[in-house]
Subunit: 342 residues, 2 copies
């Protein structure tokens, strides 16, 4: 029972941490910096932050430099929610789950009399949230399991192609950060392998990450549920189960990087205390130079302003210890020329 | 209790399935086919098998071909034990574990009076094996946990650099199959991403796979134990725990490919019934052409002869169903010009 409770607990955090991506694509062509030769980070304002990034990349990629890192060890890990795309007012994966409940409702007449589905379908999110963990776990189980992996992938892609964000009206995958897309491209152009290391669900991210960020499925690490292999009617299928497989947040991030990447990163980027352990593990190593950065949400006009007091993307320890670990704090408002791709 | 029993059970199979790699390297330069332009597979004899491989790769990589596969979907998965290197008379990872017990013995005086360690240290493998599952689990726990990931990696590398195989006298990582190394190179030269999908321990394979096969750590999937993140004396460390994290064999192979690669392969290679589900999942898909192959151990002189009756690398279902699924059976004796790198 304790184990099940624990699992549910984790499922909750998973779901809570389950914010992400949006519509079917932001064409990768658009994401390539036009004049990368002259300025690899055109959407970044000139300043300390941009200079620190370029100095690090230049130093580590130049053969004759004291800070040179061999290509095989140029591993860069990025959180997703709040680091590569927005995460307000709710994690985008939660928005997906809610929309999915609505779409699935006709096949589930029993939901009309069953919480949290009844409240959710009536648009009464207050009652849903009052249901706490249990309600969220119910929503996650109903939307993220009992389905083949291929069906789930299609449901994510379909949602990304149609759903829009309540504040911006954009498709969710149009709310990726253009400056970060340029940073990913810049790192790759300099021999870095770029990985996503997200607390959100890995199979919610993979269907669109390649187009949005240029990151293939096998370089996306995230939380995951268990999956089962069967041959049904002569056809092999993988079915998603309502059981947590791996929870990729907080101390789970260095663990996930070890289990999936098998190498210690030299570059890590996050935005919340969920990324603290990953940043710490990346920074506190000898040998190569290391780079840790934190995206600080300071732009209430173009995006959102939040840090220490936010239930989503809470950033407290990271701010307190940034100087100690030499982490670069990105001030979204002053460091970024634009937020989203045009 | 049932769960723990199950776990131990899996640990056993893990260990049993835990055969692998050897000394510190077989220089990757040697593995590159010298005249790839004229013959990409010089260590393969001319014949049906070689022709089938070249036909498939040519067809799927040529833009104008009806069987063309876009680069992003050119995913090839290889079993390791018995497919990329030898696995007799015991899985090489078991040989590693046994040597490690011997090396650790001075720090464990209590082992002199405790089975299976007592028997193992006396060279009495009969008594060790009579201990069954429990004995194997004890050996695995003692050698594969309670150690940081960095210390474990070093112990693998050190062993590879020094240990030699009882029959061939070679370092274990010199017992990789030269024809398969050429096949890996050939696939990569044609835009394929190559992955290892092994029942053996992932952190036993990663330290030497890049040098031996050209496969980086993040493209190695295998069985794994849980790992814990801590900051000890101001230093972040990952410690290996005596708990199974993932068992990557049989039905676990398609599951592992889904969880780690996130794409369905178009090419898969194995040698035992532990690879059956992976081959089946790869072959039974619509859309692209698919290729499944099985290395059949038919060469008792240069390697070993075994299949249906072997406790290690048992191959029965694979032989029975090869025709049905159109899997290519590689006859090691007639299809391979050489077995190991020179």
């Amino acid at each position: 029972m304790e184990a099940i409770k624990k699992m549910n607990n984790k499922f909750l955090v998973l779901l809570t941490a389950i914010v992400m991506m949006a519509v079917s694509c932001s064409k990768s062509g658009e994401n390539s910096p036009k004049n990368a030769a002259s300025d690899p980070l055109p959407s970044w304002n000139e300043g300390q932050a941009k200079k620190a990034i370029i100095d690090f990349v230049t130093k580590t990629a130049k053969d004759s430099s004291a800070g040179f890192i061999p290509v095989a060890d140029r591993i860069a890990c990025f959180d997703n929610d709040g680091t590569l795309w927005s995460e307000q007012p709710v994690y985008f994966q939660l928005a997906f789950a809610i929309d999915r409940i609505k779409a699935m409702a006709p096949q589930h007449p029993e939901w009309k009399a069953k919480q949290p589905f009844k409240a959710l379908l009536a648009g009464d999110m207050k009652t849903v949230m009052a249901g706490g963990e249990k309600a969220i776990v119910e929503i996650m189980k109903a939307t993220h399991s009992g389905i083949t992996t291929e069906e789930f992938e299609k449901s994510v892609s379909d949602w990304m192609a149609t759903a829009t964000h309540p504040k911006t009206g954009k498709h969710y995958n149009e709310m990726i950060y253009q400056p970060m897309v340029e940073l990913l491209n810049y790192l790759r152009a300099n021999g870095y392998k770029t990985f996503i290391v997200s607390g959100g669900g890995v199979d919610f991210i993979r269907p669109w990450a390649e187009q949005a960020y240029g990151i293939p499925p096998y370089q996306v690490i995230g939380s995951s549920g268990k999956v089962k292999y069967d041959v049904l009617d002569g056809k092999p299928v993988l079915t998603k189960l309502p059981e947590l497989n791996f929870f990729d947040d907080k101390e789970g991030k260095p663990v996930g990087i070890y289990q999936y990447v098998g190498k210690r990163p030299v570059f890590a980027a996050g935005n919340s205390d969920g990324d603290y352990a990953m940043l710490q593990w990346t920074s506190m190593a000898s040998g190569y130079p290391r780079f840790g950065m934190i995206v600080h949400h300071t732009d209430g006009e173009r995006e959102w302003t939040y840090d220490r007091a936010s239930p989503i993307g809470k950033l407290e320890k990271g701010l307190d210890d940034a100087a100690k670990y030499n982490w670069l704090i990105i001030d979204m408002k002053t460091d970024w020329k634009v937020v989203y791709p045009k």
